[in-house]
Symmetry: C2
Subunit: 314 residues, 2 copies
Amino acid sequence: MKVYFTFNSRPDLQQQLIEHFPKVEFTFHSRIENEVLAEADVLVTYGEDLNDEHIKIAKNLKWIFVASAGIEKMPRKAIADRNIIVSNVRGIHKKPMAESIIAHILSLKRSLPYIYNNQQNKIWDKKGNPTELNGSTALIIGPGAIGAEIGRLLQAFEVYTIGLNRSGEDAPFMNETHRISDLAQQLPKADIVISILPSTEETTHMIKYEHFQLMRENAIFMNFGRGNLVETDVLIRALEEKLIYHAVLDVFEVEPLPYDNKLWELDNVTISPHCSSHSSRYLERSLEIFKPSLEKWLKGDTDIENQMDILRGY
Amino acid sequence: MKVYFTFNSRPDLQQQLIEHFPKVEFTFHSRIENEVLAEADVLVTYGEDLNDEHIKIAKNLKWIFVASAGIEKMPRKAIADRNIIVSNVRGIHKKPMAESIIAHILSLKRSLPYIYNNQQNKIWDKKGNPTELNGSTALIIGPGAIGAEIGRLLQAFEVYTIGLNRSGEDAPFMNETHRISDLAQQLPKADIVISILPSTEETTHMIKYEHFQLMRENAIFMNFGRGNLVETDVLIRALEEKLIYHAVLDVFEVEPLPYDNKLWELDNVTISPHCSSHSSRYLERSLEIFKPSLEKWLKGDTDIENQMDILRGY
């Protein structure tokens, strides 16, 4: 059994795999080499390095483990035609993203930017006017696995959570759940508005100027889903007019955010460069998902976790 | 019944009291006026404006409500001699302090200082190397009410909590509890070391250079108790030698921290100017504690909450 990692990883993580699976022959390379590929039974990839030609060469390939969430750049038809099983690391972003979101909220509530700025200038100043998270209300738009983790943590801080999803059916760790179509009615209730919506036709430019007018003056608006949820100019106008207290943005219509974009100039916005899901533990956690699947596979059981429908894309 | 507030508060909070207690005559003044004092039955103070002479003048005074935790500056003997009841706002700092502590931890774990610095320079840079809080181990030295709240929140983030108190007996929201005398054995286990110890003879300079040598290289050390827990020079040496990853300090041996202190220069320390318990909701919450006590008092029940032994000081 030959397993080919098309990226390099920490030596200690490689060693763990080699020791855990003595009968497997592992190859770790930071690029694709056709000779290794031709003999590989299993491929582990970040999903951005494969083309149709590679699939043709990989004549023994039966399973591709994608150590990322997206498969947009993969040669999907060629893989489907060969009935190669594809599995991914679904859910791996949940914890780091939720921790980033709570970090940004608490930082603003407890005046950390004010403390950091003063420290740079050696200024001892207690007048940061911190407020508190407990007792707030949060509106979570798109409460899937990530939304549930955010809701769980917010509830620990005694925050009242309102979820918005397509059906309006109850969702985990939400005190109430409504339909996304009820957005306008729910916005005035929230101190914190968090979107983790994926990009679809319905969500493109879904949040409009009128929605910012409905938000509270003290509201924190957070976009951690897709950049096209709000037109950049609408966001800038709402922030310039101080319709809300602050925006925390992890995603943007154009990435990287252009140097001359007005958003960089505003003091009521945080620019997080699409890094909220990053983690030094990413690969470690990917391998935690990979290992039990490989164990099953070695026993001839192909019913592994997180299998994807490669043509549908999820 | 006459209640005298020796400080001013937001008009809406005053109005709430007046409406809630129609039979009480309230006076709100930002300093002590002897004529009002002479007739007051109840005094509400921050505890820093009273002297022996005031107690003599306040001949009707039966109860002092102190809207702060400390009573060091009060004329304690004069109050005790008259058997005036004193109650305070014990526990009021718990939530804002715990939120500040979690804010600082998450900010470091999720690279917020890196994000903020880059934003100031309009730099789009994803290489902040964030890590994660979940799965960490925290050592909480002094797990009273504040420590329990910190432990509760950390456990929600799937952090393993070890408490250190005098007795070593189980404490709420601690996975394990040990004696403070076992400090040296526990330090190597912790990714986060948090002290919320009050100042006593035993805790003065309790943390020594050798203790920093026992901490993990990736450890975050947080002092939110009293500044004399560590000698400033020891702290500076440990940080310069990078024995730990970062220190977050809310308290210092000398406050304000002098402009020429080396701590201001180091990049592995956060200087929080003794403000972690501050909150715009402080007075609101004080009154939430005061109201039920006043209700009891009006019914002739003097067994009110948070009564203090004024001579012993707590």
